[in-house]
């Protein structure tokens, strides 16, 4: 039992390390892109996209919006797991 707990803790620590590594890669990547943005001429398909770091800012805001809107949407369109199956009699899957 104790071994299981220790293994689980090690697993959690490993996953946290992955999380930190992911964050590190993302932050370093963004930093490099910032440097490129300062020194190189990037052109978008529309003039608005030529604004400084526009695709990045757009991506950040869009991602937050998608998740937050999705969370709000849960209240409207989320139902119990057996919402359809209890009426349609599909609970007894074989």
């Amino acid at each position: 039992m104790k071994n299981d707990d220790i293994n689980k803790k090690v697993e959690i620590m490993t996953l946290e390390r992955f999380g930190r590594a992911f964050t590190f890669v993302v932050v370093i990547g963004i930093f490099i892109l910032l440097v490129i943005e300062i020194f190189a001429q990037r052109h978008g398909e529309f003039a608005l996209e030529d604004m400084f770091f526009f695709p990045g800012i757009f991506g950040f805001v869009a991602f937050i919006f998608v998740v937050m809107a999705g969370t709000l949407l849960r209240r409207l369109i989320m139902r119990d797991e057996d919402y359809y199956s209890k009426r349609e009699g599909a609970n007894d899957d074989t």
Binding site: E11, F22, V27, F46, A62, F63, G70, R74, E81
Partner: protein, 565 residues
Amino acid sequence: MIPDFGLPPGLLMIIGAGLIPFLPANLRHIWMLLAIACSATTLTAPYGDHVIWNVMGMELSLFHVDNLTFPFSLIFHIAAVLTVIYSWHVKSWAEQTAVLSYAGAAIAAVHAGDLISLFIWWEATAITSVFIILAADTVSARHAAMRYLIIQVSSGVLLIGGAALYFHEYGRITFEAMTLGSMATWFIFIAFGIKAAFPFLNGWLQDAYPEASITGTVALSAFTTKLAIYALARGFPGTELLIWIGAVMTAFPVFFAVIENDLRRVLSFSLNNQLGFMVVAIGIGTPLALNGAVAHAFVHIIYKSLLFMSVGTVMFHTKTAKASELGGLYKQMPFTMICCIIGAMSISAFPLFSGFVAKSLTMSALGGTEFILAYFILLFASAGVLEHSGIKIPFFTFFAHPSECVIGKTPNGMLIAMGIAAVMCIGIGIFPQLLYQILPYAKVKNPYDLSHVTGQLQLLLLAGLAFVVLMRTGLYPPEIRSTVLNSDWFYRRLAPAIISSVLAIIMPIVKAVDDLIISVAKTVMRGAKWVSEHPVSGPVIPGPAALVQVIVLVVIVAAIYANLG
């Protein structure tokens, strides 16, 4: 010179499928690959119509080849091979027969040069794919299969109706570019729209695909919807309405995918979103845009299959695809994890992956047009794709939290199929000309310029940072066991509720009228009986029947008299 089979491509696969039940289990997959290889020899056919059948005075072109059929026929053959390899461990002849005939029907449909042939293969894909869903052998799969069949057949009915009207209007049945306007073209357009999962016509996709077996879903993800994309590209290129339909398709499924717990259903929403990009490109209709649509369909079949295969492999071991029950499998299933991440990076359009080289074409084609809003909707949807397919699928499957699952050996076929698909995703990403040289229209330039690459990386990495922020602040919503309502709710709950409400009002009235008629009839009969038993005078009345006849006669005579008066 092509081998002269006298049969349309794909039909060889359908004939081959018919023999599968009679073959020993260990030979079936080799037989399936042989059938696909025989069909694939038709890929070398030159442009033109190679098989023409005269039926009831109409010329049916069953083997039409041109610059648009080739890439679709090629990728359908590749998808069929991947599906067969992935399902090598499957022993069910029913599923194998359905998969091979389904792929064959889709390939035959691509080569249909007229609307009647298209209808025949269109319906064939519907019927054969139903058996793939049924092969899952669960109650919910059976229910979903019936709903799926009704909708798919409806699409076929609209198509044949549209074809008949088109023949009436134009005197020909050639499957050619059409302009929306007449009832005929609207029928055909909606028929294609059902299979392409247009908004509010999409419920069947998220309803049925996740109900199929693990291997069945991989097959389903490749053919039906991409056949619809092909049909739209041939029938309605440059139809502006498609730009807005496609834009809605890219954006809306993103929100549903965020909160969906079943990862195969998440991938089905994601499929819908990707179809949106292709539909927008067809709506723009320029050579570059149509190349974008074809390229997107081509790479999408590969990376979507890869994602379905990865989740399917996980499901093979864990018996679930629920995000709330998965996680932490990176250690037990490293190869599957790598393949899944490659699929995720491809669909997210990371540079050096296949999605990037395809999506760049559509975005470039949309750039500089007056459809600025559509462009930014697609840009927004790109961030959404990263959320549900780029991050959610691999994160909740292989990371998220420690796993307690004990994983057995993964069948070699599954590993090989995933490996091939992953190599193709990277190969096309690094060498885009491999893909570009088979595209139907003008030559396409290399997408790897500074603006495209840095712009896309900015979008993706900052979106990734947003994920980190949401996770660390605890704002990212947890996965919850649930059902997410979709457009299938309209016919699964709303329509039955309305019908039962209407029946609840009508039935008592019907019953009351019924009771009234019965009571009147009983009263008349009782009265007749009484009169017959109590004659006032004269001869004995022969019986109630005669009395009723007399009454009826009196009524008729009175009515005639009143009418004459």
